[in-house]
Amino acid sequence: MSNPYIPVQAVVKDLRQETDGARPIKTFTVEIKDKKDKFKFSPGQCAMVGIPGVGESMISICSSPTQKKYMQFSIMQMGKVTSALHELDKGEMITVRGPYGKPFPIDEWKGKKILTIGGGIGQAPLRPIINYVRDNAKNYGALSIIYGARSPQDLVFLSELEGMKKDKSAKVHLTVDAEAPDWKGNVGFVPNYLMDVKPSPKNTIAITCGPPIMIKFVLQNLKKLGFEDDQIFTTLENRMKCGIGKCGKCNVGGVYVCKDGPVFSYAQFKELHPDF
């Protein structure tokens, strides 16, 4: 019988500073040490990333499963565990257990156009979709990315997104909340920018993640643009400890974000308990 509380060992192969400031974000490229410990996952799933002696945090896997050698996690320095993770150097060991949660139904989206709408670090759970769709471009329609953050310095994966613009693998629409020197892109909140970009709902799946307030208005605006409930998906978070629906922390009504989420269709989202 396997023990779901025992993590596997992994090595930090690479570190990329995504943003600076009071809450810096780093992308960790992580390789599980022992081949037999490697696990399969799908876009949208999460894993418990930890340091024994400090603790674990539930982090979305932000690499695509098409990249088989490693996993990536983009982690904002926030609490005890994420601060300890930010202290690590390349080559140091961490632990991982997972994958947890229900993934995006990405195979059901074949043949459709994909639109992601992200805010801040909320872009991290959208990145595996973006990279999966780019790696399987022949199976999907056009890929569009709407992404915003407070300032240009707070945009994560910026060089990747610029690269996609250049190689035309995606239509990339970037925005920041306020005017900033040297920023030539759009200025305005993500939900408003969505209305400016005005994507057509025709044969399109829209996936959004960001701060709760942003998600709320993006969902409203997607409905205004004519998206049906089954064309809209989001991914949520809550405090978690066990990851397997037992510790009682992440429930929204009878739904446990760790095992029943974190991915919800808009139809499911509307049925969630008003606690959220």
């Binding site: 779901p4 024994p52 674990e56 926030m78 405090r239 037992k246 009878g254």
Partner: protein, 340 residues
């Protein structure tokens, strides 16, 4: 299955005959009654009336090591939790035994919890029918009774000079293998005495609550000001959760250093703000009213919908121990009144 008679004077002999097991039994300590591991069978007391805490900790300890670790730089040695010796819980009340049945699907469904499972598998429950239910008891409202057998392997009922022993499971039958000699065979007349004793006990239960359709009524009260009122009097001490036989929420904490230490599972309480607060400071259950509402909806709506059991056995400890006299039954009655 078989029934036996055990002379009260032979109780210690009976417990000794159970052999080489961890014997957990009620003991009196500091004005409370607790279940503790006892070295000497003579220390077990069955005449203690009021059980402050259930023996839930036998299958779900308040603090439990998930694993010990030693970091050797390029590798990590992980040592999983301890082996569990065969254990007998003696004198557990029927409501508390039922709570194990309520907890089983939570720990066994989806991902099987190996820590709970190994303790549960190693544990035999010898119950004690309630001769004198307390004034807080309301187990019949939850389908229980002073002689309820759910979850028990053996039930003992006081019938005067003897205990009437009912063997209820294979585990119980196996345990009696070495102990049947201490007992006598029970006759039909003894069974009648037992039935009468249990009937008398049932008549002593004063409180009740109507739970019909409660799982559907609670969500309809979600926005009701009643929850604000209940939340205003609550002081968030969490004693209702720590003494609840069906509460199962936990935290996971690391102890030691990054070089060497243990990862622990510890009881946590949904009545504390830290229980759900995000690292960002956002808290989805941000005040006491939202936390109490979640606790009660979890027990009477979410848990039964997800796992098939109401997460309450009617022991009434949360009512008795609450320092500000929150009363679960009164809250549920208010929910019904709002719906009607």
């Amino acid at each position: 299955m078989d029934n036996y008679l055990l002379q009260k004077s032979k109780l210690t002999e009976f417990l000794t005959s159970l052999g080489d097991v961890n014997l957990i039994a009620p003991v009196a300590a500091n004005g409370t009654t607790r279940f503790e591991l006892i070295e000497n069978a003579a220390k077990a007391k069955l005449d203690l009336e009021d059980y402050t805490a259930s023996p839930k900790k036998v299958v779900f300890p308040q603090t439990e090591t998930l694993f010990a670790f030693r970091n050797k730089g390029d590798s990590l040695d992980i040592e999983e939790g301890e082996e569990i010796a065969p254990t007998v819980v003696f004198g557990i009340r029927p409501c508390d035994a039922k709570s194990f049945v309520v907890l089983d699907p939570l720990f066994n469904k989806d991902f099987e919890d190996p820590y709970y499972k190994k303790r549960r598998d190693a544990t035999v429950l010898i119950g004690q029918a309630c001769a004198e239910p307390t004034n807080r008891c309301f187990c019949p409202s939850l389908g229980g009774s002073p002689g309820g057998t759910e979850g028990l392997d053996i039930l003992m009922t006081d019938i005067g000079n003897d205990y009437f022993l009912e063997v209820l499971s294979e585990k119980g039958k196996k345990l009696m293998n070495g102990s049947a000699g201490v007992c006598a065979a029970a006759a039909a007349a003894d069974n009648a005495k037992k039935e009468k004793a249990l009937e008398q006990s049932l008549g002593k239960i004063k409180r009740q609550v109507d739970l019909k359709q409660m799982h559907e009524m609670l969500p309809k009260t979600f926005e009701d000001k009643m929850w604000k009122e209940v939340g205003n009097s609550c002081i968030g001490c969490g004693i209702c959760t720590y003494n609840c036989p069906t509460c199962h929420c936990f935290d996971i904490q690391d102890e030691g250093s990054t070089y060497q230490g243990r990862r622990l599972r510890v009881w946590d309480a949904c009545m504390y703000p830290e229980f759900t607060v995000h690292a960002s400071g956002e808290n989805p259950r941000h005040d006491r009213s939202t936390r109490i509402r979640n606790r009660i909806m979890h027990k009477f709506t979410f848990y039964p919908n997800n796992l098939g059991h109401i997460s309450c056995v009617g022991c009434g400890r949360c009512i008795e121990l609450c320092p500000v006299n929150e009363d679960l039954i009164e809250i549920l009655n208010k929910v019904r009144a709002i719906n009607e």
